[in-house]
Symmetry: C2
Subunit: 382 residues, 2 copies
């Protein structure tokens, strides 16, 4: 599976007449090799793909010199041409690159221009004088937008775990429960079982739900009241893959305006998911979703359309390609996993968002991976 | 307090004849302005320091256009010359910079060469054609190595919380408890109280403790047995500031080799902390600590000196300056907060590390911020 991902990259390198490509991004290294280090931002590993070899460079923390296997991560790529190179204070990445460039006669070497730091490039320019260094952007992240079987399986599991989690958490919500308490319960439920959060949950009660990107950690920790509206935007992480769901919970007696808005929003969200079956243009999907809302609801007088995009890809990161927005240049394709998440926000009053994670299958088919019910959910027996 | 940090930066800019400095790093923006965004890696904010102004650039998620205060973070710098600029799809960072460069006649503009991406610089070069762009490294992180009063207060609290946490967690450890369970209990204890982990704890039992940077998440989840040795390397985060502690726990009847090694290691660690009172050279502090171990212990025959550094600064990040290692070029100074963490690792058998977070005060004084007892801790009543 992993070698097929590398081969996709190699095909692009060939088209661009590159002899090699240096991968610096933590998630791209994980995607291509299955190897990951303790931290995302400390440059503990690098990867080089050439015509015939795959090199991973890392330090003694990650290479178990006493075991028979070269590196200790059992999920790493299995390939005869995969070589692990030890980085030491005496022999850093650059010295390794100098050797390989010589051995493999590399003349044109690509790198991730959207990940490599200015000073890192400067150093490479200084020490790799006979190599043409070529900055490329979004190369691997665009390969990552199409998920393979293993990735889809992980995403499906992540969504299932998230569904189960919310089923349990909803039972614990009643007047007096605070935003941070709900967030903590979700986190605790997941971590106790060995899973993780996809991102810190957005739990927004009443007025806070009118803020599309409300930050629960920095907020006023609003409590549930007798007739509250609660927005829960959360996800589970399973084997590094993320899910993303938003659900609305009503307490006591929601107003008819709330119920009416919810119905219209749900209708728009579900019709937009349906639309993925036939429309491969994310700009038109985005527009379609907004039209569904405005045509059924007197939004024009109250407020403008929601200020965020209609959806985004999910995978090893919570925000990936394709983007489903009016500025998107992507194409919707088989085996992409995307969110559909329209919202209605009434300033200083309340807001609503409904979001699912959806797999695009063969033409005419989609699979909604997040299956938590979207029927009007009212908590009244507490 | 915050404006004094900016003034330290301005002094350096003046020395380097720079008219402005663009800050891209999440933690440096937080340090200088008190402002932080939801994620560390998504470039949701930028900062520009000029002779007369401090600019923060961010998008509508972080600027509350409906409230009287310009931005919603109450901890932000209070200064008449602090200006928040709204980033929109139509007017991004570059357009704002073009305006300011014009207005303030900026000719030489510095940027963080160890943070800015290659493609970000490329874009700046394309659109800021009359400006000389100058790459600088480690400018603000070196300012950050000296902590001010507020930072020391936060670090002291973080250490105190960590002490209390371990006191409680130790009570729950008995034969059968696994590494991940201990890690989870630490995380849960902290988060339930609204604090956070400094980093994912390293809990290493028996053979795993011989691996200096053991990864508990990726490991075999070893369980405590009747005569186990347990290494706990953990920390608490309070108001974005980190603590860092390592303690050893013995179960049942530790061998005399274990007890002897622990005593020698503790003696080396405490003498090295004492040494901080008089020695401002981290290279010699590192060497001193290793000598303390070898002179009291027949390490030469068993294994080499520990493979990591003797210590590091802590602050907004878990690893900051100064480094206390044989390659360090730093100087130990008043109001630095550093760890001292020697270890002994016997391959495939067991290992030990003892670590405290220490504040360097006026010459001849130090304050150990992590106060959890270092007396031999044996769990036998379970």
């Amino acid at each position: 599976m992993l070698i097929q991902r590398v081969e996709k990259l190699r095909k692009i390198l060939q088209e661009k007449s590159l002899d090699g490509f240096l991968v610096s991004n933590f998630f791209n290294i994980l995607y291509l090799t299955g190897f990951k280090t303790l931290t995302e931002n400390e440059r503990e590993a690098w990867m080089l793909v050439t015509k015939n070899h795959i090199y991973l460079f890392t330090d003694s923390r990650y290479i178990n010199i006493n075991s028979k296997s070269e590196a200790r991560n059992p999920k790493q790529i299995q390939n005869n041409n995969y070589k692990t190179k030890l980085i030491t204070p005496e022999k850093g990445l650059i010295k390794h690159l100098q050797e390989i460039v010589e051995e493999e006669k590399i003349q044109r070497l690509g790198f991730e221009g959207d990940d490599l730091k200015v000073n890192e490039l400067q150093k490479m320019k200084t020490f790799l004088t006979n190599v043409e260094l070529i900055s490329l952007e979004k190369l691997i992240i665009k390969i990552r937008e199409i998920k393979d079987e293993e990735e889809i399986s992980n995403l499906r599991t992540a969504c299932k775990i998230a569904d189960q989690c919310l089923e349990e958490i909803v039972k614990t919500i009643k007047p007096g429960t605070s935003e941070k308490e709900i967030a903590f319960r979700i986190e605790f439920w997941l971590k106790e079982k060995g899973y993780d959060l996809s991102f810190y949950p957005i739990i927004a009660i009443d007025k806070n739900s009118a803020v599309p990107h409300y930050d629960t950690r920095a907020g006023n920790d609003e409590k549930v009241k007798k007739n509250s509206i609660i927005l829960i935007d959360y996800g589970a992480k399973f084997e590094d893959y993320h899910s993303d769901t938003t659900r609305m919970i009503f307490v006591g007696k929601p107003t008819s305006e709330m119920i009416n808005t919810y119905k219209i929003l749900l209708n728009a969200q579900e019709k937009t998911i349906e639309r993925l079956k036939t429309d491969n243009n994310p700009v038109s999907v985005d527009q379609f979703c907004r039209q569904q809302l405005t045509s059924h609801y007197s939004l024009a007088t109250n407020h403008s359309s929601y200020s965020h995009s209609t959806g985004h890809g999910v995978g090893l990161r919570i925000h990936e390609f394709p983007k489903i927005s009016f500025t998107s240049t992507d194409v919707l394709l088989l085996n992409q996993v995307v969110t559909i998440e329209p919202g209605v926000y009434i300033n200083n009053k309340w807001g609503m968002r409904i979001e699912d994670t959806v797999l695009i299958k063969e033409k005419g088919e989609i699979e909604v991976l997040t299956k938590f019910s979207k029927k009007l959910l009212i908590i009244s027996n507490y």
